[in-house]
Amino acid sequence: MVDIRDRVSEVADVVIKIRDVRGQLNGRRAELSEKSRVEADRILEQLREIEGNLTIWMGSQAHPMMWGPLGLIEKLSRLSGAVVCADAKPTEPMYAVFEDLSKRFEVQRNRLNQVIEKEVVLLLSY
């Protein structure tokens, strides 16, 4: 349970970080050249995709009632609910799902770090 709780916190921190970076990009957008704006849009799209893997997006502007899949944070939260629903040691599949979700989270965190380090920093340094 503690491991799941901590992982949920980590995912939440990454989501907050994404939103912070997005805010910075949007805040500086007006100052950017046309070419850099295109680059900013491309980065924003990547950020949205990463965020969509971490937390659910409930529709798009075009199709607001078409829900996407649950994000990792919701899946971890639901796993937490499954673990605590009985006074018993977690089952082996619960450990396996936790490991799987954690690996998927690491992939997204690494993607974000790469985007920030290689693209956002470069863009905002101009």
Partner: protein
């Protein structure tokens, strides 16, 4: 065991007659049709049925009352016929048994001008994967005591029925038709002679059904009806399209005006629409509209539908609109309107601008009737009655209309019966008690959700209760319910191709007849646990046809997604183990496949009957306890609009099959179940 015989005997006896004949096996993979002797009716009449419950209200799509009798109410159960109360919901009595051929009720109305006249439209009118059809319209002229079928037999699913307020011979029917494919019996129908003849008066095409009807009580020639393009596939559901719309007549249905695109209405794609003319101010019309591009919501017209404005928008009230989104206008206050989306029962007192959630007994709301003379009197689908405007409601625990998705029994004395209830939870009840009846004090509620199969240990100590893609181990002594799912990841909203294990909404679970410590379940693979679900071993490869070409997108659309395990496809729906040979496992899929393993899952052989059509769901497998190699399977294809029964027998482990449906009518529902006990568990 012997208790199986008590509970599940009827179909077993039918099967015994069906299979007790010569078989003419041909070569490998061949199927032969076999003739059978006719069934001796006296054999079946010797069977005694005893009602055991449970008294827990099920899905209700149709409700009605009568203004001059504050205690009189009716409801139509999704699978349980018409029920009548003469004491405001304190007691209910079934009044359609013996008259209805199909007990699924989709619509109901009592004549305002003659309370003895009641019409019922059969067949569930709300789309979903497992849905019961009907055979048209039934009429009663004695307050529901007797009923006669008055036609529209091929409409299959009737979503709304309205009787003319002053002439009970004029009736309007909104027919969804067959929701699993194109058919011409869709649209709005009218009779002007009490049901002797019907005329289709509003129709678009074979994939567009009629959803809702609302009549102006002050001028019954004014009617507003909604149509919707709707087709359900095994893997998807389409709702909305160019043929969808809202239509108005001012001449009782002789001619209709399309008001779908009148000013203020959504400009983009439109899906399901429910509509209510305010009896208090008939120029005011409310509509609950599913629409794309964020245009859905509660709309209102104050000029009879000529112009509209959206009053309320809340995505939380727009989920799965095909199952919900009902709207009912208060008969006396034009600013009061009720809506029933997935999120509950809501009331607006400001003309639809804002809504407040109302306390109710029921948690899945699909119908509402309000007394035209006293709006404090209502009946809500469920069914529950209020006499005080919803401050309190009658009980749901007095109506045995539960939609049960599973059945299992243990070996206690008296034995217990276990089931899962749609829109509710698993429940266990004793088969008899020392009291006068089997009542709520004897029931055991099992904390696992609505959908799924059930297995139980012989002594009743442990129940394995499945709920959509999850499985729970319920310990009767401790009351603990542990999630023992094979893969406890919630995958709601995921395209099927991205789902790791394709468990169906009611996936199978099996305790080995040789060892109650061995538990089986299945998605596209078979899994086995020998430690009560603490861990699972995958003991097969993908045993389905793995139809990935239909798994690529999130199900539902083109407006609203409906991505639940109901739309998971290419998966195992039935699993059985031979009572004669431990480790001889049989599985059947929803994509026309039967496989057998004779070595405990180490190897599998595809032994599918070669004439099984595409998307045949194998619903049950029974392995003979008397003869090695003899197996019966049942299949069905309602999800592709085919009601043909598919029943087969093999006597050589599936090398050859005989089709054993001769004598069963084309549209009769068929299933296999064993009445013969064969478990070898230690006692």
């Amino acid at each position: 065991m012997k208790h199986n015989t008590k509970v599940l005997v009827l179909l077993a006896v039918m099967m015994a007659f069906l299979v007790g004949t010569d078989s003419r096996a041909l070569g490998m993979g061949k199927v032969v049709l076999t003739d059978y002797p006719s069934l001796d009716a006296s054999f079946l009449s010797a069977l005694d049925w005893r009602f055991v419950g449970p008294f827990r209200g099920g899905r209700v799509l149709a409700v009605a009352g009568y203004p001059d009798d504050p205690l009189l109410y009716y409801f139509g159960a999704a699978h349980g016929g018409v029920w009548k109360s003469t004491d405001a919901g304190r007691h209910w009595r079934n009044v359609s048994d013996g008259f209805f051929k199909f007990p699924a009720v989709g619509a109901l109305d009592v004549s305002l001008s003659d309370p003895k006249v009641i019409f019922a439209g059969t067949g569930e009118g709300l789309p979903r994967q497992f849905i019961s059809p009907g055979d048209g319209v039934y009429k009663s002229t004695d307050g529901g005591e007797t009923w006669t079928n008055v036609g529209l037999r091929e409409t299959r699913h009737i979503s709304r029925l309205r009787i003319h307020p002053t002439n009970p011979d004029i009736v309007y029917v909104a027919a969804m038709g067959d929701m699993f494919g194109p058919n011409p019996e869709r649209g709005v129908y009218r009779t002007t002679d009490g049901g002797k003849t019907w005329k289709r008066i509003l129709y678009k095409d074979e994939s567009t059904g009629a959803v809702d009807l609302s009549i102006d009580p002050t001028n019954p020639k004014v009617i507003i009806a909604s149509l919707n393009h709707h087709v359900t596939y095994p893997w998807d559901e389409e709702s909305g399209g160019p043929s969808t719309g809202l239509f108005k007549t001012t001449d009782g249905g002789d001619s209709w005006t399309d008001i779908t695109r009148n000013p203020g209405m959504p400009e983009g794609l439109i899906g399901k629409i429910c509509v209510a003319i305010s009896p208090a101010r008939p120029n005011r019309v409310y509509a609950f509209i599913e629409a794309d591009k964020g245009e859905g919501g509660i709309y209102r017209s104050d000029d009879g539908g000529s112009t509209w404005q959206r009053m309320h928008q809340d995505p939380g009230k727009m989920e799965i609109p095909n199952s919900y989104n009902h709207i009912t206008a208060d008969p006396q206050d034009p600013d009061v309107v009720y809506i029933q989306p997935i999120s509950g029962f809501w009331k607006s007192t400001d003309g639809g601008r804002t809504f407040k959630l109302q306390p109710t007994e029921n948690w899945d709301h699909h119908a509402l009737w309000i007394d035209p003379n006293d709006p404090n009197r209502m009946i809500d689908g469920g069914a529950a009655v209020t006499l005080n405007g919803g401050e309190s409601w009658s009980s749901l625990e007095n109506q045995p209309t539960a939609d049960l998705l599973s059945l299992a029994v243990d070996d206690q004395e008296p034995y217990w019966i276990y089931a899962s209830q749609n829109d509710n939870s698993h429940i266990a009840i004793p088969s008899r008690t020392d009291d006068r009846s089997i009542e709520w004090v004897h029931y055991l509620l099992i904390p696992a959700g609505e959908g799924g199969q059930t297995a139980v240990k012989p002594d009743g100590s442990v129940v394995y209760a499945c709920d959509r893609a999850r499985m729970f181990r319920f310990d009767r002594e401790t009351g603990q319910s542990q999630d023992i799912s094979v893969w406890p990841e919630v995958e709601f909203g995921t395209a099927v191709e991205d789902v790791k294990y394709r468990f169906y909404y009611s996936f199978p679970v099996l305790l080995s007849p040789h060892d109650p410590r061995v538990l089986y379940t299945a998605a596209q693979y078979v899994f086995r646990s020998t430690n009560e679900g603490i861990s699972w071993d995958q003991i097969s490869s993908d045993l389905t046809r793995n139809r990935r070409e239909v798994m690529g997108s999130i199900s539902g659309g083109p407006i609203s997604s409906n991505a639940s395990s109901l739309f998971h496809v290419s998966l195992i729906r039935a699993i059985a183990e031979s009572p004669l040979q431990e480790g001889e496992l049989w599985v059947g899929t929803d994509d026309s496949t039967v496989q057998v393993s004779r070595d405990g899952g180490s190897s599998w052989l595809d032994v599918s009957p070669p004439d099984l059509p595409e998307w045949t769901t194998i619903t049950a497998i029974e392995v003979s306890p008397h003869q090695r190699g003899t197996v019966y399977i049942s299949g069905e294809r309602h999800r592709v609009s085919d009601r043909t029964p598919y029943l087969y027998k093999t006597t050589d482990y599936g090398n050859t099959w005989q089709r054993i449906t001769h004598g069963i009518r084309k549209n009769d529902f068929s299933w296999l179940t064993s009445g013969i006990g064969y478990r070898k568990w230690p006692t």
